[in-house]
């Protein structure tokens, strides 16, 4: 029997990733998916819907919280409050619905029941009725949305309000549970999440499966190495900017030739109780992905073994300058990722009387020769 339900792709970085994630979740509950300009599948039975909602609820607990160590050394589960998924400590939209309500929404959306209504979705243009009260578009549904829930925004009628159908609301909400590389720079109170940009959804699914295999789940990042400190205790070593994150992702993935276009969502403010309004989107286009192949051929782990080990020291006081250290790491990673030697070399400029140190000769020489020498001979 041919698949009956089809959800077309949006050709948008957020919703296409969300659609791929929904397809992945459906595959986990044994639904056969046809990946072709969207996803197509047979309608779900009650058991499959229950398992799907169960998986989503498990992911909410797993992905949207982290293990926090309190001052007295005890550990507790804390919410990733910086994500625009909560308001006043409670999940909003689809994520905040009771289990039965979630099941009702999924049953309706993933069945072949005809979806009609008087309203038109601002995102996909489909007709709908707001039977589930999840139609108001906030950053929970689309992180770049300008309109917020009035109660969350505080300023009324300053910005236009958008409304979406339950399908878009569901997709937008669950994308926060997806396996996208993220990192958090606590000093700058900034979080970075990367999304691959691939038009062909089947290709996107293939790449994201590889990414999923490379991820761990840590407090500050899902691409990190664990190490034991001098006084014992387990610490995370992780990248603190988008380019370093991308480079360390490539290290973990081992295959880098898949996509040269990424969307980076930058969220400011980590410890806000209210959902953040400060989300920024940056497009990362890698101009020459073959150059990365060459870098990886001479340095197996350019971020972990080379860039991450560098630090920036004051020439006068000999103290380490954390801000410049972070900035220089970003410049080196950006230079390597974008095949831009000028940017890379900026990390080596002496600024504010501080100098880059901790660079290993065994790594720097081959890298420069590979990058700048005609025959690339070492």
């Amino acid at each position: 029997m041919s698949p009956q339900i089809k959800i077309n792709q949006y050709y948008d970085w957020w919703f296409d990733n969300a659609l791929e994630f929904l397809g992945n979740l459906l595959e986990e509950v044994d639904v056969d998916i046809e990946w072709n300009s969207g996803i197509a599948f047979d309608s779900l039975d009650e058991d499959q819907v229950a398992r799907l909602v169960d998986t989503i609820e498990r992911l909410i607990k797993f992905k949207l919280t982290y293990q926090k160590t309190k001052k007295d050394g005890t550990q507790e589960k804390a919410n990733r409050a910086y994500l625009p998924t909560m308001h006043k400590g409670k999940y909003v939209n689809f994520l905040g619905k009771e289990t039965e309500e979630k099941q009702k929404i999924c049953s309706y959306l993933l069945s072949h029941e005809e979806k009609t209504g008087k309203r038109i979705c601002d995102i996909c243009g489909d007709n709908y009725d707001d039977d589930f009260n999840i139609s108001q578009v906030s950053q929970t549904i689309y992180p770049m949305a300008t309109g917020s829930l009035k109660s969350q925004c505080g300023v009324r009628k300053m910005e236009p309000e958008y409304h979406s159908c339950p399908k878009c609301a569901l997709l937008g909400s669950i994308e926060w549970l997806d396996d996208n590389p993220f990192t958090c720079d606590n000093d700058n109170l900034t979080n970075y999440i990367l999304f691959p940009k691939i038009e062909d959804i089947e290709e996107l699914h293939r790449l994201k499966d590889i990414i999923r295999g490379s991820l761990k789940q840590g407090r500050n990042s899902n691409i990190m190495e664990l190490f034991t400190g001098k006084k014992g205790g387990l610490f995370e070593r992780y990248a603190r900017d988008e380019y370093s994150l991308l480079l360390s992702l490539f290290e973990q993935m081992k295959i880098i030739g898949y996509t040269d276009e990424w969307a980076c969502l930058r969220i400011k403010g980590t410890s806000a109780t209210y959902q953040t309004k400060y989300s920024y989107l940056e497009e990362i286009k890698i101009p020459n992905i073959q150059s990365l192949d060459r870098v990886f051929s001479v340095l197996q782990k350019p971020y972990s073994n080379f860039i991450d080990k560098s630090f920036t020291k004051s020439l006068t006081s000999n103290n380490i300058d954390n801000n410049l250290s972070r900035e220089n790491k970003c410049l080196m990673s950006k230079g390597i990722v974008l095949d831009d030697f000028k940017t890379f070399s900026r990390a080596f400029q002496i600024r504010q009387n501080c100098i880059l140190a901790g660079i290993q000769k065994e790594m720097l020489y081959p890298l420069i020769i590979q990058w700048r020498c005609k025959d690339g001979a070492i």
């Binding site: 030697f341 890379f344 400029q349 100098i355 000769k361 420069i368 700048r372 020498c373 005609k374």
Partner: protein
């Protein structure tokens, strides 16, 4: 982006070593090298650094070998339109050597 010959890369590396050694005592020389905006300015600053190397050599027992700097000036003349790229590579090496010297201490 210009791809250089192996020997040319070697000249830049050795020049970086000389400049890094000098910058350990005269950091402003490295600052000024970085600030140069034309091949002429770059060569002028390299000449200053060469003179500095000679004067340091007179004070110390061990002289600083300045031949790489002379070769570097020839290289800059050869790649006049891309002297910026040479400067970038030399700065990377110079800072690396200076960092190595300082960090060793």
């Amino acid at each position: 982006m210009v791809q250089f010959e192996t020997e040319e890369m070697e000249i830049m590396r050795k020049s970086g070593h000389v400049i890094g050694t000098i910058a350990d005592n005269y950091i402003s020389d490295l600052y000024q090298l970085d600030r140069t905006r034309s091949p002429e300015e770059l060569i002028k600053q390299l000449k200053n650094i060469s003179l500095r190397a000679i004067s340091i050599g007179k004070k110390l027992d061990e002289s600083i070998y300045t031949e790489p700097l002379a070769k570097l000036m020839d290289l800059i003349n050869k790649y006049k339109n891309n002297s910026d790229e040479i400067k970038d590579i030399v700065i990377v090496y110079s800072t690396f050597y200076l960092g190595a010297i300082r960090y060793k201490k």
